[in-house]
């Protein structure tokens, strides 16, 4: 990638052994809107704030939570356009796997390949790292899974995690609230409460997005009215 004048990598080591570009990418993630995910015993939920720059924006047209395969969904914190590139590449990789093996791609494999793409962009000529961290939620033969993928290309499996602006408060809240035998509905309530902690303004079905996958292995994004129902249950 890049023309001959930029065939060297722009991400280079500092004397302290850090890749400064990746640190800056993580800062970009840290200033993005909060998103979080919780793995329940029978499913996974991912959620994010959907703060739009103006009331004139048509919020129904904005969708931050994306589906990668029928049983895997993803949410990001950081730069939206960067996440779109990754979603596109991941979808293609999932389809290629399916074309070869006629089997749905296991969540771990898709996460690994997406992370490999992100790592490539820290070691190629003329490109910069992605300014997003992804939370990948899926349900396959190994059960419900939640992975976080960082701009460096490292990935971790989480029981519950948060990213973005309010990350430390959100993680503390999740640490207190998380139980191993939580069911999906409880997890959705916990997710909403966690988002509420750092939310500026009035939370509603229109300014947050929630995606769930349960044992039926079908990922779906909740409609604003379904979110309103959960919000009322939480009140």
């Amino acid at each position: 990638m890049g023309d001959s004048q930029y065939s060297f990598s722009l991400t280079t080591f500092s004397p302290s052994g850090k890749l400064v570009q990746i640190e800056h990418a993580l800062t970009a993630v840290g200033s993005g809107q909060t998103s979080l995910g919780i793995k329940a015993s029978n499913g996974v939920v991912i959620a994010t704030e959907k703060k739009l720059p103006s009331i004139l924006v048509d919020e129904a047209s904005v969708q931050k939570i994306q589906i990668l395969t029928p049983n895997i969904g993803v949410v990001y914190s950081g730069m939206g356009p960067d996440s779109r590139v990754l979603v596109r590449k991941s979808r293609k990789q999932a389809e290629q796997y399916h074309r070869l093996y006629k089997e749905p791609i296991p969540v771990t494999q898709l996460v690994r390949e997406t992370a490999a793409v992100m790592q490539e962009f820290t070691q190629s000529g003329g490109v910069r790292p992605f300014g997003v961290s992804l939370l990948v939620a899926g349900y396959d033969d190994k059960g419900p899974q939640l992975y976080q993928v960082d701009p460096s290309g490292s990935y971790f499996s989480w029981k519950a995690s948060a990213m973005g602006k309010n990350v430390s408060n959100a993680k503390t809240f999740l640490e207190k609230r998380y139980t191993d035998d939580m069911e999906l509905d409880d997890a959705v309530h916990t997710a909403i409460l966690t988002l509420k902690e750092g939310f500026e303004g009035q939370i509603s079905g229109k300014n947050i997005e929630i995606g769930i996958i349960s044992a039926d292995k079908k990922f779906r994004v909740l409609t604003p009215s379904e979110i309103e129902d959960y919000l009322q249950e939480v009140e």
Partner: protein, 204 residues
């Protein structure tokens, strides 16, 4: 003479009750001359998955090596064995990659899938899969094999009876084909164990 008849081969796989059997002849020839009488056509990919490759022997060996390579990497990455259905899709894809310069092989795949359910299939040289519930055949003796299997096959045979049936079908068919024979090699696979037997037939 067709390239598929250069070396000569006979392959058959049959489904039984929670088990399967896969059998091949043992002759390797160069047209009319017999070179080897102990040639291996059936390979073991993992304990519950076998593939037999008929047709041109050098392509069969190369294709086998490629498949083992792919399976080993899959096992390392996914930390599990490939299901037979998945493996069949992989073989089909690899063959179709060479659509305009194919491997001159007809594979026969047999394995135990989820819940140890027996799975067999065959495909042509460019990867057209043919799933069957009862038996599949391949090789120069395939026409005789079709007849013999159709006549002798019964559904839900136990391992012992399945072994007898597949052995009789193989031996009687290769006797009608000058390019295959010189004994038989039979694997009977149940969820518990794999049995390998060598048959002595008409050694010509």
């Amino acid at each position: 003479m067709s390239i598929f008849e250069y070396n000569g081969s006979a392959l058959v796989a049959m489904v039984g009750k929670n088990c399967f059997a896969i059998a091949s002849d043992r002759r390797l020839g160069v047209q009319l001359q017999t070179i080897a009488t102990d040639f291996q056509r059936i390979y073991n990919i993992h304990p519950k998955l076998f593939i037999g490759l008929s047709g041109l022997a050098s392509d069969a060996q190369t294709l086998y090596q490629r498949l083992v390579f792919r399976h080993k990497l899959y096992e390392l990455r996914e930390e599990r064995n490939m299901k037979p259905e998945t493996f069949a899709s992989l073989v089909s894809a690899i063959q179709y990659e060479k659509r305009f310069g194919p491997y001159f092989c007809q594979p026969v795949i047999a394995g135990l899938g989820d819940d140890d359910k027996p799975f067999i299939c065959t495909m042509d040289a460019i990867g057209a899969k043919e799933l069957a519930k009862d038996f599949v055949v391949a090789g120069t003796a395939s026409e005789s094999l079709y007849g013999a299997c159709e006549a002798m096959f019964k559904p839900d045979m136990e391992a012992e009876e399945l072994f007898e049936t597949i052995s009789q079908a193989l031996l009687s068919s290769v006797d009608r084909d000058c390019l295959s024979g010189w004994g038989g090699h039979v694997y009977v696979v149940t969820p518990m164990e794999v049995t390998e037997k060598i048959l002595k037939g008409r050694m010509d």
